[in-house]
Symmetry: none
Subunit: 221 residues, 2 copies
Amino acid sequence: MRALIIEDDEKIGASISTALELAGFLTVLEKDGEEGWFLGSSEPFDVIILDLGLPTLDGLTILKRWRKENCITPVLILTARGNWDERVEGIDSGADDYLVKPYRSEELVARVRSLVRRSTGHAAPNIEVGDIVLDTRQMRVSRDGQPIPLTPQEYRLVSYLMHNNNRVVDQMELTEHLYSQDFERDSNSIEVLVGRTRRKLGKNSIKTRRGFGYIMEDENE
Amino acid sequence: MRALIIEDDEKIGASISTALELAGFLTVLEKDGEEGWFLGSSEPFDVIILDLGLPTLDGLTILKRWRKENCITPVLILTARGNWDERVEGIDSGADDYLVKPYRSEELVARVRSLVRRSTGHAAPNIEVGDIVLDTRQMRVSRDGQPIPLTPQEYRLVSYLMHNNNRVVDQMELTEHLYSQDFERDSNSIEVLVGRTRRKLGKNSIKTRRGFGYIMEDENE
DNA sequence: GTTTTTCTGACAATTCACTGACAATACGCT
DNA sequence: AGCGTATTGTCAGTGAATTGTCAGAAAAAC
């Protein structure tokens, strides 16, 4: 999962970034509003953390622009304490959730996880596909109750596929959401990653739709 | 479905091309305006993506020429941000939709799909013919709710026939829209493809009009 | 019944995905 | 900081699914 963080305060930005990376996200941190808007408009993110009160371009303006462009990526806005107006206006402008500074970073991570889940149609923090369970809070994957140790990259793969369960995901999309910068196209790293993950989860966990992509789906399909 | 992309920027062009190919399109990428105009006039495309601001020949000029020639292929124009004039003029010149840079490639693909659907008279993203349903977003075909796995080429065939439902499509037309470069005429690959697809969809899904071509049609006709 | 058109099964070529071995890199530990 | 281990990317070779070709069979038209 890729998260875009737009925050001008150096320290706060870095702390959000590390907190989310520990939670398994890939992050892009941007201080400038204009540049941030551009990133959100041109690259696919799974969630965006947006500070209101940016220098060059105001957060609410960015948000409104995105929404006008049919961008439906979930957005969490950060507001200063007491600014009720901002908060209300943020929701009106299309924010999906808001968080008041100061906050504990666990709180932020929890909110972000929840946003990502809800945006992919999952209410509960545990996502089940077939006999595989993804525990988004503990970042663990288990099969029939047996925990399966995965490497960080493998976890990201499974997490992305399970959030988007019953949907074929092509290699391009996986590359975009599993690697920070865009990536040499001529390598087969995704195939290798899928192969390794499959060996741990079981042959039929991740299915190949030749010519289309990969899918994790419930049995009855 | 065949898409013509006229875009001088090497990288942008390539990214549009791969995005559309992953979405099941065959693409032709052309950097030169003059050459692009010629291609659009001489070969049958299902949709054209046209960048305004080309070096040799301006996009709007190309578009106007096509329309004067009674070419009705749907055209999506790409404009730089803020150029309202261009956009308005584009619509006036016969563009069917426009997209402002920067954009996410999912958005582009969605617009292109929508254009192709509308140009063949389909409002919804799911097209139903008889008991067969084509899900254009997920690129899946199902019958009575049961998904039917198809190979990429088979999918292209069904997609084309279902977009053009209740209309007889001859082999020449199918060849032109299902293969990138012009193809040896003496092979019977279309017949074989139809046969294989029929085996998966059911005997009566694709009907043969001997001497004319193939058709997928609703039962009551 | 003959001719034309389309269908079908078998084979071949190609493309695409998987695998195992190796190399590079990142990471944790003392 | 330096070493050892785990993780990840690369590459070449293997295997399998897809697609095209061809020849003969079936079906339709006359």
